[in-house]
Amino acid sequence: MITVLRVASSFTPRLSLWVGVIGLVLLTHWLTAPPRAQAASGSATTSATLTVPVATTVSCSSTTVTAAAGNQSTTLTVTCILTGNPSQLASGTANAFMYPATLTNGANSLAVTPVATVTSPDGSINSILGSASGFSGVLASGTGNTWRIRSSCTVATTATTRSGTYTGTVQYVWSTL
């Protein structure tokens, strides 16, 4: 009787341990399993509401500005061109330019000030606003499948600014809300 009680009392924690191990194995298997077709829409708890493949390409370029030492305010312009099918997704498409706070040459830095306008030569952008960290807005319904968006920032140097090359990274973020 005592032996039976011992078995029963030690069985409960072992069972929960095994349940935990099996759960961990299943979770690991799910996370590491090779991709299956239509995996995103097969689950009962997942509903993909937008299944249009976003084969959109973004091409961005920026100007490199060289100024003589001294008090200068220079403007860097970033232009991004979207091609593909953005116009099909325009009703919820948003974009943002995330500028770095400073440009640096490793030892010194220059402050970056985003200019509070973003222009779109083809008129495909509206409601663009500036902020300390960049810009964001919503694309208007497009003309064809090419979108051109332009943004800029200024970099100021003073008489004491050390010469050299100052670099920074700006992100152009394209998303569908």
Partner: protein, 315 residues
């Protein structure tokens, strides 16, 4: 800089060969002098480009938390469009839309439920060879204590390979500013727990003649007192009142050029825009009395059509 000078000079050298009667050396000298003057003013520019090297199969996902497990899961396929291997890092980010519908990436609330601490992504960073596809899976956990709620987040697929900088200065007394541009794609994820619903209210709707443009200006204030964001299409029916006080539909205006108007819970939304006509695009508005009837309909029919009206007098 030296390279730019050389390139420009070489191009103009070729061009100068076609100029009859003008010694090429003199043309080059004039151009060189002009470029030197521009440099003396202080600023010159050069450009380089970066192209996105991947694309996603899902740009927006709406997931519902399983009430039994408290989990919601999804996946995104990332496909390379590059000729070289791209390294991609995935950053889950919390975002909000401000009053002007500008997207802002912010830190999640310091107190209460933090969805960024309850998301599992696999893999978080990976190398993507040319023409290959990688499936990224993620899982979100929302505790039982939260009932009806919406959690918006974005998965930011950030290329981590750095770009090669061009046109570096060669030790001269100048300051060169270089911006590397990285195109980034995201997947917007809305996680729903329970049965959240939008409840948008028109807090203000006015129309007036803009003195600067002599065109009608629409001002609309919206507020969502629900717990799910609203996705609204706005239509304005422009009715012209004739002399005998009869109302006739004159034109239809699609607000925001037919784009969605997003209204998030507890974030007032303000729109101020000119009424751009659909039929009478360039024609001036005939003088008289107008009644503008507004209809806002949710893309998902999550709430009844919202209606408003304003009167306008065109002199």
């Amino acid at each position: 800089m030296t390279r730019i000078y050389r390139n420009v000079l070489s191009w103009f050298s070729l061009a100068s060969l076609s100029l009859k009667g003008v010694p090429p050396f003199r043309v080059n000298s004039i151009i060189a002098l002009g470029l030197t003057l521009i440099a003396a003013i202080g600023i010159s520019t050069a450009a380089y480009a970066a192209v996105s090297s991947y694309y996603l199969d899902q740009s927006r996902l709406e997931l519902t938390v399983n009430p039994k497990t408290g989990l919601a899961s999804g996946s995104v396929k990332v496909t390379s469009s590059s000729a070289t291997t791209t390294r991609i890092r995935i950053l889950p980010k919390f975002w909000v839309l401000d009053e002007q519908s500008a997207i802002r990436y912010i830190d999640p609330p310091s107190t209460g439920f933090n969805i960024l601490k309850n998301i599992l992504i696999n893999p978080l960073e990976f190398s993507l060879p040319p023409a290959q596809t990688k499936t990224v899976r993620f899982m979100v956990r929302v505790p039982d204590s939260i009932t009806d709620a919406e959690f918006p987040l974005q998965l930011v697929f950030e290329p981590t390979s750095t770009l090669e900088e061009l046109n570096r200065t060669d030790g001269t007394k100048v300051v060169q500013s270089v911006l590397n541009v990285v195109p980034v794609f995201t997947t917007t994820v809305y996680v729903y727990k329970g049965n959240p619903q939008p409840n948008t209210l028109i807090k203000g709707f006015t129309c007036s003649m803009d003195s600067a443009t002599q065109k009608p200006l629409i001002k609309l204030n919206l507020e969502n007192v629900g717990n799910k964001h609203a996705r609204l299409f706005g239509t304005l029916f422009v009715n012209h009142q004739t002399a005998d006080q009869k109302k006739a539909l004159w034109d239809v205006v699609k607000l925001r050029n037919g784009n969605l108007i997003f209204v998030f819970p507890n974030v007032p939304r303000q729109l101020t825009e000119p009424a751009v006509l659909n039929k009478h695009t360039d024609a001036p508005w005939p003088s008289g009395s107008y009644q503008l009837d507004l209809e806002l309909s949710d893309e998902r029919n999550s709430q009844p059509v919202l209606k408003g009206s304003c009167a306008l007098q065109v002199p």
